[in-house]
């Protein structure tokens, strides 16, 4: 079986691809992995112990057709049974065209467009209500006047965030205006102003089968992070109410495919701050504690029975570290001139 994964940029701001590929290979060593890369220098292109063959793709902003044609080319020349996209920028295309892929004989397991829209921060209020958890006071703003009114009402410090990306804690109006402009220039409107909530950030990784059933869940706490907020060390936890929220989320919205929930938790008070409709970069953490979600997703894709148990131990740690790989420049030469590695 040949499975393609994207997000093989295993850098200090890693994509989830390597974690997904590693999980698959550990579950079944006969699986061949294809790395879908957007940069010849992506570390994944050189990690032949996880990625069997790499292909360079055009950016999703250039349209679906070149990506689709590239996948067809891979299928024809190397073979391809399924693709697991892991990057935010490419999900809208894959979700929209999942039927085309299916017709071409390339399987995916993704949420539908409606489910995908749930990630919009505008919708988190309604979702929280449905899941019976609280939601911080939030105001939607489109201009500076509305921003001023909103920050006055909510008070400083507060959070200024984009509908899909970016969030900044601000302590003054000039700061709020600065980030309002920065986010809206890049990501458009609406901008949300939100009250600061106290508590710890806890994260849950999971996957749903599209019928309301869970394929597994693991909750963690980030112990140390990089300056970008990416997990470095983490520990598994069993916060039963938090796990219940994730379970309810899958049941309520019949979520299909992988997801990550980012929550702020203050004892029993849980606030949902973000839904990522994909595997997080730390997906291998769950695999390592016995919940191999990439493999389970793959099993569902191919209608195979799989272990769907939710058991894992709390107090297991993930420790990320750096490691150097030494290789010949010939590999870069192949990628740079042919757009694919020797596989």
């Amino acid at each position: 079986m040949i499975i393609a994964v994207s997000g093989v940029n295993d850098t200090d701001n890693p994509g989830p691809g390597i974690g997904v590929a590693r999980s698959l290979k550990e579950a079944d060593s006969s699986i061949k992995t294809v790395g879908l890369s957007y940069d010849v220098q992506d570390p994944g292109n050189f990690m032949d112990f996880v990625i069997d063959k790499s292909y360079v793709l055009t950016y999703p902003s250039q349209g679906w057709e070149p990506i689709f044609n590239r996948l067809l080319y891979i299928k024809e020349s190397y073979g391809l049974d399924a693709v697991i996209p892991t990057l935010d920028a490419e999900l809208p295309s894959y979700i929209k065209y999942q039927d085309d892929l299916k017709e071409a004989g390339i399987k995916t397991f993704l949420p539908n467009l409606e489910q995908f829209e749930l990630r919009s921060k505008e919708n988190l209020g309604d979702i929280s209500e449905a899941l019976k958890i609280s939601y911080p006071k939030t105001k939607k703003v489109f201009n500076i006047d509305q921003l001023k009114k909103a920050v006055n009402e909510i008070g400083f410090p507060c959070v200024v965030k984009g509908n899909y990306y970016k969030a900044y804690k601000v302590k003054s109006l000039p700061e709020a205006v600065y980030y309002f402009t920065e986010i809206s220039n890049e990501w458009g409107f609406p901008i949300l102003v939100q009250e600061i909530v106290n508590g710890d950030e806890l994260n849950v990784i999971g996957a749903g089968d599209g019928k309301g059933n869970l394929l597994g869940l693991v909750a963690i706490k980030k112990m140390t992070t990089t300056h970008l907020g990416k997990i470095w060390n983490g520990v598994t936890i069993r916060h039963e109410k938090l796990l219940k929220v994730a379970e309810d989320f899958v049941a309520e919205y019949k979520w299909r495919g992988p997801f990550e929930l980012e929550c702020i938790v203050d004892e029993d008070n849980i606030i949902l701050i973000e839904i990522n409709p994909r595997f997080p970069a730390w997906v291998y953490f769950a695999t390592g504690v016995g919940v191999n979600l990439p493999k389970r997703v793959l099993d569902v894709m191919f209608d195979k029975n799989s272990d769907m148990s939710g058991d894992y131990e709390s107090g297991k740690m993930m420790v990320r570290y750096t490691y150097e790989l030494i290789t010949d420049i010939e590999k870069l030469s192949e990628l740079a001139t042919k757009g694919e590695s020797n596989g």
Binding site: V40, Y59, E186, P190, K338
Partner: protein, 449 residues
């Protein structure tokens, strides 16, 4: 011995900012024909640059849009938005398909009449309608959409002058949840201004309100905004009919549907973010059915322009020179610039070649012929090395460019239409000096010869 095909020398530094440069990706986009006719042949015959419209594409687009609406709500009428493209041939195609005219100035009104459109088949919009044009429009039975209280006064005067009651519509603005809110045109619904305008018209006794009109924005990527718009309009209609006693015969929801163009600042490609015509149609017609009371279904008017014409228009331009810029990027100078492409402000165009060019891609920018730094058609594109005379096909450019283009330091080029039958028709001749000088007067004392 036959010589080998020449590939211009190319060397690209492998660096992350241009991670695709040098890689045989992306595959170059090629377009050899428009409407079945070879582009190279058209350029050979008519010169470069050239705007080319595809008649078949226009008709197909119109028919699918009409079908999307009429299959859901049969009482529907499209009005061709002249400002989007008022080339006679283009307007005529839409009129043949059954569209009436939607104009926003006395100039466009005259253009529609000249083309043979009757007054009753003209929707007259716009924030400024000169008094004389209101007299003409009222006399000829045009659908006049009032924008301000001042215009109500003007029209009452016209009614006195002509001695009959004038049927009118009012333009509305409202919050549909999108930003920016177009609040500059017409009367606001939420503040009660719209209802005040209706009452004012009633009190005057010289005008009869028969329609409601709104236009909520442009390049709308959220179809749901139209659902909000239509809902608010129908609710206002219900209120007007009930409380003031006018019978509303039509609701005009305006235009603003997006085309498959790539808006700058939006990462995702148009095929992902642009709603389909069915999405728009569903939003609008479902709101009609959900909110109309009783059995009278007003006529639905649509003024969509961009969506219908943008993708049917191409600009073909030729490489006249190339050079290496100090930042090692290549600059291609082409014979058409932003003087002809007003919409470059908003769009990153689709740029295709008319022949396969072998070789590796390098980062390039495409500059027009204007002696100005802003004349950039594409700032960052990967292209194989092109030779002088190579053609670039820029699209979609069918909307707004041939109305907003500038006569700045160069003549505006020829415009062609490839007909359904595959014939090539010249629909606008290239400008020449006399076109521009005709309107100028040189005082005697300044004459040099």
């Amino acid at each position: 011995m036959a010589k080998k095909t020449y590939e211009k020398p190319t060397i690209i530094k492998v660096e992350s900012s241009h991670s695709k440069a040098g890689v045989p990706m992306p595959k170059q986009k090629i377009r050899k024909k428009i409407g079945g006719v070879a582009i190279d042949e058209m350029v050979e015959r008519f010169g470069s640059p050239l705007f080319i419209f595809d008649e078949k594409a226009i008709r197909e687009k119109y028919r699918s849009a009409y079908e999307a609406f009429s299959s859901r709500y049969p009482n529907v009428q499209f009005g061709w938005s002249y400002k989007t493209n008022y080339l006679k041939a283009v307007c005529a195609v839409f009129h043949q398909e059954g569209a009436i005219a939607e104009v926003v100035s006395e100039f466009e009104y005259e253009k529609a009449r000249e083309l043979g459109i009757e007054g009753k088949d003209i929707i007259y919009n716009g924030p400024y309608k000169p008094y004389d044009s209101l007299v003409t429009a009222a006399k000829e039975g045009a659908k006049i959409h009032i924008d301000t209280f001042d215009e109500i006064n003007d029209l009452e005067k016209v009614a006195d002058e002509l001695g009959f009651e004038i049927p009118v519509a009012i333009r509305l603005n409202m919050d549909t949840g999108i930003y920016p809110q177009w609040s500059r045109f017409g009367f606001n619904i939420e503040s009660g201004q719209a209802m005040d305008a209706v009452k004012r018209i009633k009190a005057g006794g010289k005008l009869r309100l028969t329609g409601l009109h709104a236009h909520i924005g442009t390049f709308m990527l959220d179809a749901n905004a139209y659902k909000v718009e239509t809902t608010k309009m129908v609710r206002l209609m219900n209120e007007v009919e009930e409380k003031v006693g006018f019978t509303i015969e039509y609701i005009d929801v305006g235009g603003g549907f997006a085309s498959k163009n790539h808006l700058r600042g939006i990462y995702q490609p148009p095929e992902v973010v642009v709603p389909t015509i069915d999405d728009y149609a569903e939003a609008i017609t479902s709101a009609l059915y959900e909110n109309i009371r009783g059995n009278s279904y007003p006529k639905l008017y649509l003024e969509t322009g961009r969506h219908l014409i943008d993708e049917a228009g191409y600009l073909v331009t030729s490489v006249v020179a190339s050079k290496t810029l100090p930042d090692s990027r290549r600059s291609y100078i082409v014979d058409a610039g932003v003087n002809l492409l007003y919409t470059y402000f908003w769009y990153k165009f689709n740029i295709e070649l008319t022949r396969e060019v072998s070789g590796i891609s390098e980062p390039a920018m495409i500059n027009g012929p204007l002696c100005m730094n802003i004349d950039v058609i594409d700032e960052s594109i990967l292209l194989p090395r092109l030779r002088r005379g190579d053609k670039l096909v820029i699209s979609p450019v069918g909307a707004y460019n041939v109305t907003q283009w500038m006569q700045f330091i160069r003549y505006r080029p020829r415009v062609l239409m490839v007909t359904e039958e595959g014939n090539v028709e010249l629909i606008r001749e290239r400008e020449e000096l006399s076109d521009i000088e005709k309107r100028e007067i040189l005082p005697d004392k300044l004459k040099l010869k």
